[in-house]
């Protein structure tokens, strides 16, 4: 593999360059791949890795294999069109169409530094300057049709993403001498991108009118098959004109969105896809600045500079006509971090929606169902900009939209509104509040006198269980494990000690030290996925793993409405990135300032993950409002849930 590997790293900017690699060899011609023509991308140094030479080796997965086998032919026309026209179809791993067509659908209103957008402009320029550019483009676009068909969701994402990054920076480097050293390339790239970012901001301020509601409507819909849905849908629209293709794409996206289930929270959009990010940015309400130095492995997740968003949003309160004030308030609270925890966020969001529905009136000539759905979509996309949706919120939104769609057409407006408001109330009551009571009832049967219970962070369900068990008079003590930067365990500690429960408090690095005296571990969850994986606050997986090693039973307490049918194998493909500055600083200790100015260092990135995925092997039992079930039974609950319409 190695002889082929080196040219691959050099010549294939679409391949995510994660891992240790040799410095790229400029003089390499295209890879000696058996199947394709040689895209002359060897001139372009690898894109993503130019920023951070020390990175995590990639998992050996399908995408990297596929991308190794199938070189990115579509890049070629923009590079000089060498053999572009006859480039064979890169079957499978990625669909470069987004890169090629500047009209790549950016559904989700996200702001980002998108030199990609202007790079599209550059690419157009370059392409036009190249003799075979236009032909290559057309050929490539045709090639994309079969390519999309074979793409699986996971592989589509990564290579597509890399496509953008790779192509974009590679493109930029076209401007310079190929012989530049890597360091100067990096600097130029960054400076170049910052300049582009400034230009982009100016352009965006001018183009603010693009944020219409209809655009937001199409953008706001979260489709579980957004990526695969887009891939086949993108291919039909192969027009050069951006606006036409954009509207086609939006229409194309609407069709799968209508037909398919509207679910899957936002995080599945790949944020290293420059085109879509740019598109989203134009429609966004909240002004976001993409953070400048980002960890390579997590480029597909959004990361913004946290300092600027809140004041900016607050100042724009009176300009946000399409957003109902209640929704705006909730969004601001998400942004500020006031509301945290799956249940709290979901309830706050639903109550804000209730307010907005109360104040809603159907415009003339419009159907209530469709118009209300559109409005809800726009609110959802606003909330996503403030903070990516949690899975509980995603499920609640899905429920709400299903209920709206099921409204009988002959209802008057007030009746329809009353019905929806009632449904929301029932959802909150049955699926959250009552569910918590049932969970507490089941869980206290597993607490015996003399138990030492360990919990991590602060989960509302676990807190209720502990307080109730204490009320019942059980004798136990609690070990609370906490971690930076959020230190959520301190709130739990305060409340438990206030009720007279004897507690021990420690940090995550001591968990293996303290685990030997623990008899049960109680953890909360943001969601439980269909393969039994528990998606929860970062650090939960470590606690569960240590508990498993010590043969301590791990009980996960999670309401059933948080279950999701998706499957996740690791914590990387879908996650949320928090504010890296929170890691750099220690509150109350200003003398610990070793990381001050970390953004200026090019070799340093800070990563603040919010969630992680605990494999089902470490989980002994999941306590839900359906009773105590083994982790293997989660898909059964999801199946029964949907079949019996238990969300209703």
């Amino acid at each position: 593999m190695d002889p082929r590997r080196v040219p691959r790293t050099v010549s294939d900017p679409k391949v995510r360059q994660v891992g240790f690699f040799a410095p790229p060899d400029r003089t390499q011609s295209g890879p000696p791949a058996p199947t394709s023509s040689s895209p002359p991308v060897s001139e372009i140094s690898p894109s993503g890795n130019s920023l951070s030479p020390v990175m995590i080796p990639p998992p050996r997965n399908l995408s990297s294999d596929i991308s190794r086998h199938f070189p990115p032919a579509p890049i070629s026309p923009l590079r000089g069109g060498r053999g572009a026209a006859d480039s064979s179809i890169p079957v499978g791993s990625y669909n470069p169409s987004e890169f090629i067509s500047p009209t790549a659908t950016a559904d989700f209103s996200e702001d980002a530094v998108s030199p990609g957008w202007s790079r599209k402009g550059n690419s157009a320029k370059f392409a036009s300057s190249l003799p075979t550019g236009g032909i290559g483009m057309a050929a490539v676009k045709q090639n994309n049709v079969p390519a999309s068909g074979l793409a699986t969701v996971s592989t589509v994402r990564m290579p597509k993403a890399v496509t953008e990054k790779g192509g974009a920076t590679g493109e930029v480097q076209m401007e310079q001498q190929p012989g530049d050293s890597k360091i100067s390339k990096e600097k130029t790239t960054k400076a170049e991108r910052r300049a582009l970012q400034e230009a982009q901001r100016a352009a965006k301020a001018a183009a603010k009118s693009g944020g219409s509601k209809t655009q937001a409507a199409a953008s706001g819909v979260n489709s579980i098959n957004a990526n695969t849905g887009k891939v086949p849908k993108v291919t039909p629209s192969k027009k050069d004109s951006s606006s036409v293709a954009a509207s086609e794409k939006r229409g194309g996206d609407r069709q799968p969105d209508k037909d398919r289930k509207k679910d899957v929270p936002h995080p599945r959009m790949q944020f290293d896809d420059e085109n879509r990010v740019e598109k989203a940015k134009r429609r966004s309400v909240v002004k976001q600045t993409e953070a400048r130095s980002r960890v390579e492995l997590f480029r597909h997740l959004p990361q913004y500079e946290h300092g600027t968003r809140l004041p900016d949003l607050e100042s724009r309160f009176f300009q946000l006509d399409p957003i109902h004030p209640a929704v705006y308030k909730v969004g601001v609270r998400y942004l500020a971090g006031d509301i945290s925890g799956g249940n709290a966020r979901c309830i706050a969001m639903l109550q804000a929606f209730q307010e907005s529905i109360r104040d809603y009136s159907t415009p003339p000539e419009k159907s209530l169902i469709r118009d209300l759905t559109t409005k809800i979509n726009s609110y959802v996309s606003f909330l996503i900009e403030c903070r990516p949706l949690s899975i509980s919120m995603g499920n609640a939104i899905r429920f709400l939209k299903t209920r709206i769609n099921k409204l009988a057409l002959n209802l008057s407006e007030s009746e329809a509104k009353a019905s929806i408001l009632l449904d929301i109330d029932r959802f909150i009551n049955e699926k959250i509040i009552l569910a918590d009571k049932v969970i507490v009832k089941h869980a206290v049967t597993k607490i015996r006198d003399g138990d030492v219970l360990l919990t991590y962070g602060s989960s509302s369900a676990v807190e209720m269980i502990l307080l109730h068990a204490h009320e019942l008079g059980k004798q136990f003590r609690v070990v609370i494990v906490d971690s930076r930067p959020k230190l959520e365990g301190q709130m739990l500690l305060r409340r438990l000690v206030g009720q007279g429960i004897s507690c021990t408090y420690t940090h995550l690095n001591a968990v293996s030290y303290v685990m030997h005296e623990v008899t049960r571990v109680l953890l909360g969850a943001s969601s439980v996925l269909s393969n039994g994986t528990v998606y929860s606050r970062v650090g939960t997986a470590s606690v569960a793993m240590v508990a498993h090693q010590f043969r301590v039973p791990v009980l996960i307490c999670c309401e059933a409405y948080k279950f999701h049918e998706r499957v996740q194998l690791d914590s990387i493909c879908s996650n949320e990135l928090g504010d890296p500055d929170a890691i750099a600083r220690v509150s109350g200790r200003t003398e610990i300032n070793y990381l001050e100015g970390w953004t200026n260092s090019e070799n340093l990135q800070l990563l603040n993950l919010i969630y992680d995925a605990t494999p089902s092997d470490y989980v002994s039992m999941i306590i839900t409002d359906y009773g105590m079930i083994p982790p293997t039974s989660v898909p059964v609950i999801v199946r029964e849930y949907q079949r019996e319409h238990l969300w209703i």
Binding site: K446, M621, M628, P630, S633, E640
Partner: protein, 367 residues
């Protein structure tokens, strides 16, 4: 048999599980107690009824005012040693429906609930009895047609379902025996622990199908299950070898598969069975031998033990043959819990299942 219960409760250590006492009564071991009660049952029926009513007043004996007592019925059924307790309970509950004089569905359900509770209280440590009663209640009352029909047709429908459940449970052993035939191949060596009538049925059917296999029985102290089982197998002309309990790991090399029954199958897919099952499963797992569990579906219980101590304790006396100083404690628990990761397959009348399916079935039934 009803008279035996109050006597037993008074005569012996109240900590001892009735379940294990009565099992002895079933397995061709003629004890004095049994003789006494047999005589009583034959000779003095009115006294039986009176004493039974008085002793069971608190446990729903007011039904005797109707001329019918579910526990009486239960014990009539149980006089057949081959019949599983849970099946007897299910049949008794079916007869409650049959002879009920309720006029509304609600009344009938309340009657059923009371009958079920009284049966369960007869032996609180028996998991299969509790599970069987609960499942019966769910199965029978789960029909949606109850709301729409008049009472009599609803009642006959309930009765029909109840009888069907009873039939299935009764035939469960035969079904399991049939399903498991494919797993016994010629020349195989089977390790059996405990005296399970289902496993015996499996082996009996295999012997009748002229399969050539041999069986290792663990001694099964203190219940002497191995001795009883080897008796039975010898009658079937199956080569049997007795092992003391400590010789299981020693002989595990020669064994091809382990066959056990179950007192109860819990929601995680694990089983609760006679003490020693967990040990054998651990050894088998470490030596890569499959562990097969033969259990009827009415044994699926909504329990979820997290460890060995997380269950209702069931104790039985252990006779060491020599007097022990009173300071010495004896572990008297009669059963243990085997987690699902040590089990390979469950043979049930619902089919051959992997342990994680148990929860699936329970969810479908209960939700």
């Amino acid at each position: 048999m009803a008279t035996e219960i109050p006597q037993s409760r008074q005569n012996l250590d109240p900590q001892i599980s009735l379940y294990y006492q009565t099992r002895a009564a079933h397995h061709a071991v003629v004890t004095n107690d049994w003789l006494a009660q047999a005589q009583a049952a034959v000779g003095h029926p009115p006294e039986d009824a009176v004493s039974e009513n008085s002793s069971l007043k608190s446990a729903g004996g007011e039904e005797s005012g109707n001329g019918f007592s579910v526990v009486n019925e239960f014990n009539n059924w149980r006089k057949q040693p081959d019949l599983a307790e849970a099946v007897a309970a299910i049949r008794a509950l079916a007869s409650v429906i049959r002879s009920s004089q309720a006029t509304t569905m609600m009344e009938l359900e309340i009657e059923l609930k009371k009958a079920s509770d009284s049966l369960k209280s007869w032996d609180t440590t028996s998991i299969s009895l509790t599970a069987g009663c609960d499942l019966f209640m769910r199965y029978v009352t789960r029909t949606s047609a109850l709301e729409y029909e008049d009472f009599n047709s609803a009642k006959s429908r309930l009765l029909e379902r109840a009888e069907r459940f009873g039939e299935i449970s009764y035939k469960a052993r035969k079904i399991i025996a049939m399903l498991s035939q494919d797993f016994i191949f010629d020349g195989c060596t089977i390790l059996v622990h405990g005296f399970s009538r289902v496993v015996l049925e499996v082996l009996r059917t295999a012997a009748q199908n002229r399969k050539l296999f041999r069986v290792f029985c663990t001694e099964g102290r203190p219940d002497r299950t191995g001795l009883r089982l080897s008796n039975e197998l010898a009658k079937l002309d199956v080569p049997v070898k007795l092992l003391i309990d400590s010789a299981v790991a020693y002989s595990m090399d020669e064994v091809d598969m382990v066959f056990v029954g179950a007192d109860g199958v819990v929601e995680s897919g694990g089983i609760i069975n006679m003490m020693g099952t967990y040990q054998i499963a651990l050894v088998a797992k470490s030596m890569n031998k499959p562990v097969y569990v033969a259990a009827e579906s009415y044994k699926f219980a909504r329990l979820y033990p997290l460890d060995q101590k997380d269950m209702v304790p069931a104790l039985h006396p252990i006779d060491f043959g020599v007097p022990l100083p009173s300071k010495v404690e004896v572990e008297m628990s009669a059963r243990d819990y085997t987690p699902p990761q040590y089990l390979t397959l469950l043979f049930t009348d619902l089919g051959i299942l992997s342990p994680s399916v148990v929860s699936d079935e329970l969810i479908q039934l209960y939700l």
